[in-house]
C-alpha cells in the first residue's frame, strides 16, 4: 500500500518532484505510472520510486492521540519505572495431547503379574503338582506345574513377584530342588505331630528364597492348610501405612488397620473354601457386626469392611483359626523380607521416639510365633524368608542366622561370635532368632540346572541345545548355579 501511496503522492504533488530537481527520466516514469493508474492496472514496480521519502515520513508521523496505536508507541512515563513482564509460556503443540495416567495406574502397571505367555510352547509331559509331589525325593530335579486353582490362591496371597520370570512360560511351573523336599518334609512332619515348624530361609541374592516360600505356600494350599502370608514386610515398617496405638497395652503397641484390612481380604480370597466350611466357636464382642456362634468364618471375615475395626476382626479371626480341638486344619504363617522387621521401624511415638518393629502388633504376632513364645495349637509352620537386594543393614540378624547355621552343622567352636566393638546389635532380634531352623539356599546342582534348562528349551524360550557343555556354561555364568543369575545369563540376554 505504501508503495502505491507513495506513487500517488508523487503524482498528486508535482511541485515536490519539481523542487527535487526531477530529471527527464523520472518525469517519464511518473507519466507511465499515471497512464497505468488510469487503465486500472496494479502498480508492481515499487522500486521505481526510490527517490521518494514519503514512506519515511509516514513512518515518522505521530499517530493520533487517544488511539490504540498511540498507546502502544508511547514511551513509558518516568513515574512508571521499569516494568518486568513475564512472557507467557508457549504451549507445546508438537504432538497430539495424550492423557496422562490416573493416580495409581502407573504403580498398578509396574506391579502387574503376568503368569502366561501364549507364544511359549506347551511343554509335553509337564504334570501338575499333587499334594504329595514335593515330599517325594524322586521328584527332585523335575519341573512340575502349579494347578490352576492354586495359582489363583497364590495370586491372592501375592506370592508371585514381578522380578520372577513367570511371564515367559505357558504355565507357571516350579523346579523341585533338594531343599524343597527338605523343607516340605519338615513342614509335613510338624503338622503330623501338631507342632510348629519355625524356619528361616536365607541365602545370597537371587538364590530362590522367595520361590522356596512360594513352594511352601503351594504345599499348604494343596494340603488344605490355612495360609496367612505377608508378601512384603517392608510395607509394615517403612511408615507407608497408617498406624495407631492400641489401648491398654504395656509397653504400648501399634496396629496398622489399613494394612490389616488388606490382609484380611487376601486371607479371605486365598482360603475361601476353608473359611466357608469352618464355623465360629467363640462369641466376639466389640466387632463392627454381631457374629453369632456357629456362623462360617467367611462371615466374620466379611464383617471387616472398613479400616476402622479391622484389627478387632483380625484378632477374632486369628482366635478362631487357631482354636484348639475344633478340627481346625494346620496353618502356615509366612513372611517375605525378614530383614525389614528385624530393625527399628520408621514410625515414631507421639514423643517422636522411634518405634521398634516388634512393637507393631502385626509384626509382634509374627515374631512371637517365630521365636516360639506362642505356638500354633493345630500344628503348622512359621516360615520367613530374608531379602538381600533391598535390605537394611542388620548385624544381629546376620549373626543369629550364621550362628544357627553353624549349630545345625554341629560346629562347636566354629559358631560365630559377636564382634566386641561393633555397634548396632539388637537383643530383641537375637531373642526372636535364638531357636529357629535355618535353610541356607545356594546354587543349583548341575542336574537341577539341567532340568531347569531343559524346561526352558522345551518352552521355546531358550534356543540352544541343552547338553553337558551348555549346562556347564550357564551354570558357571550363574556363579555356580545361582538360579537368578542363570536366568539372567540365558533368558534376559540379547543372545538367543
Amino acid at each position: 500500500m505504501s508503495a502505491s501511496n507513495c506513487l500517488r503522492c508523487c503524482l498528486l504533488r508535482p511541485s515536490v518532484v519539481g523542487r527535487a530537481g526531477a530529471t527527464a527520466a523520472t518525469a517519464k516514469a511518473s507519466a507511465a505510472a499515471t497512464a497505468r493508474l488510469r487503465q486500472g492496472m496494479p502498480l508492481a514496480a515499487a522500486a521505481a520510486a526510490s527517490f521518494s521519502t514519503t514512506a519515511n515520513r509516514g513512518a515518522n508521523q505521530k499517530p493520533k492521540p487517544g488511539t490504540k496505536a498511540a498507546e502502544r508507541n508511547a514511551p513509558p512515563s518516568i513515574r512508571q519505572g521499569k516494568l518486568f513482564t513475564i512472557k507467557k509460556k508457549k504451549k507445546n503443540d508438537s504432538g497430539a495431547r495424550v492423557k496422562s495416567p490416573l493416580p495409581g495406574e502407573r504403580k498398578a502397571f509396574r506391579k502387574r503379574i503376568l503368569l502366561s505367555n501364549t507364544n511359549a510352547l506347551p511343554v509335553p509331559g509337564l504334570t501338575d503338582l499333587g499334594a504329595e509331589s514335593m515330599l517325594d525325593p524322586s521328584n527332585v530335579c523335575k519341573v512340575l506345574s502349579l494347578p490352576d486353582d492354586v495359582v489363583d490362591q497364590l495370586r491372592a496371597d501375592e506370592a508371585f513377584k514381578t522380578t520372577q520370570c513367570w511371564s515367559m512360560f505357558r504355565k507357571p511351573s516350579i523346579l523341585i530342588r533338594t531343599e524343597t523336599v527338605d523343607l516340605i518334609t519338615r513342614m509335613h512332619a510338624a503338622a503330623k505331630t501338631n507342632k510348629t515348624l519355625r524356619l528361616v530361609l536365607t541365602g545370597d541374592r537371587v538364590t530362590g528364597k522367595s520361590l522356596m516360600l512360594l513352594q511352601a505356600i503351594t504345599q499348604a494350599h494343596l494340603n488344605d492348610w490355612l495360609v496367612v502370608n505377608i508378601p512384603d514386610a517392608q510395607e509394615l515398617t517403612t511408615a507407608c501405612t497408617e498406624y495407631a496405638p492400641i489401648l491398654d497395652t504395656e509397653p504400648i503397641q501399634y496396629m496398622q488397620q489399613n494394612y490389616v484390612l488388606k490382609l484380611i481380604q487376601a486371607i479371605k480370597k486365598s482360603n475361601e473354601k476353608l473359611l466357608l466350611k469352618l464355623t465360629t466357636v467363640f462369641s466376639h464382642a466389640g466387632l463392627p457386626q454381631n457374629i453369632p456362634i456357629k456362623s462360617p468364618l467367611m462371615q466374620l471375615a466379611n464383617s471387616a469392611k472398613e479400616a476402622e475395626g479391622a484389627w478387632a476382626v483380625f484378632q477374632a479371626m486369628w482366635q478362631e483359626m487357631t482354636a484348639q480341638g475344633h478340627g481346625r486344619p494346620p496353618m502356615l504363617l509366612s513372611l517375605d523380607g525378614l530383614t525389614h522387621i528385624m530393625r527399628i521401624s520408621d514410625y515414631r511415638t507421639p514423643a517422636f521416639n522411634p518405634i521398634h518393629s516388634h512393637d507393631l502388633a502385626l509384626v509382634r504376632l509374627f515374631t512371637d510365633h517365630l521365636s516360639g513364645a506362642t505356638s500354633l495349637p493345630n500344628g503348622g509352620a512359621v516360615i520367613a524368608a530374608t531379602n538381600r537386594n533391598n535390605a537394611p543393614r542388620n548385624p544381629s540378624m546376620e549373626l543369629a542366622l550364621a550362628q544357627r547355621e553353624a549349630e545345625q552343622l554341629g560346629g562347636g567352636k566354629d559358631v560365630p561370635q559377636p564382634q566386641p566393638y561393633l555397634k548396632g546389635y539388637d537383643e530383641r532380634v537375637e531373642a526372636v532368632l535364638r531357636n529357629v531352623q535355618v535353610i541356607k539356599l545356594q546354587g543349583l546342582s548341575k542336574l537341577e540346572a539341567r532340568a531347569l534348562m531343559e524346561y526352558w528349551a522345551a518352552s521355546g524360550v531358550l534356543r540352544i541345545t541343552v547338553d553337558e557343555k551348555s549346562v556347564t556354561e550357564k551354570w558357571a555364568l550363574g556363579g555356580s548355579g545361582v538360579v537368578g543369575e542363570m536366568e539372567r545369563a540365558s533368558l534376559l540376554t540379547m543372545r538367543f
Binding site: G95, R106, N119, A120, S167, M494, R495
Partner: protein, 292 residues
C-alpha cells in the same frame, strides 16, 4: 608305486603308555616305556633299554612283585584297549580322533563361529540398535534395555500384519515372529528403513537455492535412520507405568506398531521417498568446475 595297505603296520604305530603320568616311577633310563605290539602275548620279555651295568651305583629296582602284578593287569587293560582301537580301525573309524581323544568337551569348531568371538557375540543389528539406545556411554544399561525389548517381543501376541504396509519380502509369517525376537526387530527396522536420503546441495539450483539430490544409503545407514525415527516417536510417548522397564516397553510397543503398520514412522518413509522421487530429475547434476 602306491604304498600297500597293511593292517599290521598300522598296529605297530600304537604306543601304549601307562595312564597317569605322575604315577610313573622316578625318572630313570630303564623306565622308558617299552613299546610292545598289540599281538605280543609275551609280557615278560621286557628287556631294559639300558643294561644293568650302566645304571648308577646304589640303584635299586623300585618294582617289587606286587608292582609287577599291578603292571601286568594294567598291561592287560592296555591290550584290551588296543584291541578296541583295532576294531574301530576295521570299522573305518579313526581311533585317535583329536576331537574326542584327550578333550573333555571335544575340540572347538574351526573356524570359530562368530558368536564365539568376544566382539561378535551378539547379532549385528542388535549391536547397532543397542548403541543407538545408549546414552552417556552406559552400554550395560543399553544392553539391559535391549534385552527387555526382545523379551517384550517374545511375550507379545503375534502381530496382525497390515497388507497396505508390507514388510520386507521373504519375511517369515507373523506367527513365527514372537519366538524369534531378533528377526522380529530386524524385519521391523528393515521394513521402514528408507532407501535413500535427500541431500540438499547448497547453491546448486542457482540464485543461492539448494538443489535436492537423492543419495542411496547403505544397509547400516538405513537401519540407523529408521531406528532414529522410532526413537523420536518413543521420546514423545508418555509411559504407562513407572520404573526402569518403561523405556524398553515403549520402544517395543513402537516396534510392534511398525510391524502392524500403525506407526507414524511409515509416513516419514513415504514422504521421504516421494521427495526423493521428485528430486531424481536432479541426479544428472554436475558440479560446475571450481573457479580460482
Amino acid at each position: 608305486m602306491p604304498p600297500r595297505l597293511k593292517v599290521w603296520a598300522a598296529c605297530r604305530a600304537l604306543s601304549i603308555r601307562p595312564r597317569p603320568l605322575s604315577a610313573r616311577p622316578p625318572l630313570r633310563c630303564a623306565a622308558v616305556p617299552v613299546r610292545t605290539f598289540a599281538d605280543s602275548t609275551n609280557t615278560t620279555n621286557t628287556t631294559p633299554a639300558v643294561p644293568a651295568s650302566k645304571l648308577p651305583e646304589g640303584y635299586e629296582d623300585p618294582e617289587p612283585e606286587s608292582q609287577a602284578k599291578k603292571n601286568e593287569s594294567e598291561h592287560d587293560d592296555n591290550v584290551l584297549q588296543a584291541l578296541d582301537k583295532l576294531k574301530m580301525i576295521s570299522y573305518g573309524l579313526n581311533p585317535f580322533d583329536p576331537a574326542v581323544e584327550g578333550h573333555k568337551y571335544g575340540l572347538p569348531q574351526l573356524p570359530l563361529p562368530s558368536p564365539m568371538h568376544m566382539k561378535h557375540r551378539y547379532d549385528d543389528v542388535v549391536v547397532q540398535l543397542t548403541k543407538l539406545i545408549m546414552r552417556d556411554g552406559k552400554l550395560s544399561k543399553a544392553q539391559r534395555d535391549m534385552a527387555m525389548i526382545l523379551n517384550y517381543l517374545r511375550t507379545s501376541p503375534p502381530p496382525k500384519i497390515n497388507p497396505s504396509k508390507p514388510l520386507m519380502p521373504g519375511s517369515p509369517p507373523a506367527a513365527h515372529l514372537p519366538l524369534d525376537p531378533i528377526t522380529y526387530i530386524t524385519i521391523a527396522i528393515d521394513s521402514v528403513a528408507p532407501l535413500v536420503r535427500v541431500r540438499a546441495l547448497a547453491g546448486a539450483a542457482g540464485g543461492g537455492k539448494a538443489l535436492d539430490i537423492p543419495v542411496p544409503l547403505a544397509a547400516r545407514q538405513r537401519r540407523r535412520m529408521a531406528f532414529q525415527w522410532i526413537l523420536d516417536v518413543v521420546e514423545k510417548k508418555p509411559s504407562k507405568g513407572s520404573g526402569r522397564g518403561m523405556f524398553p516397553t515403549r520402544v517395543a510397543e513402537e516396534i510392534v506398531a511398525v510391524v502392524e503398520g500403525r506407526s507414524g514412522v511409515w509416513d516419514k518413509r513415504f514422504l521421504l521417498h516421494k521427495q526423493a522421487t521428485s528430486a531424481r530429475a536432479n541426479l544428472n547434476y554436475k558440479a560446475p568446475p571450481r573457479r580460482h
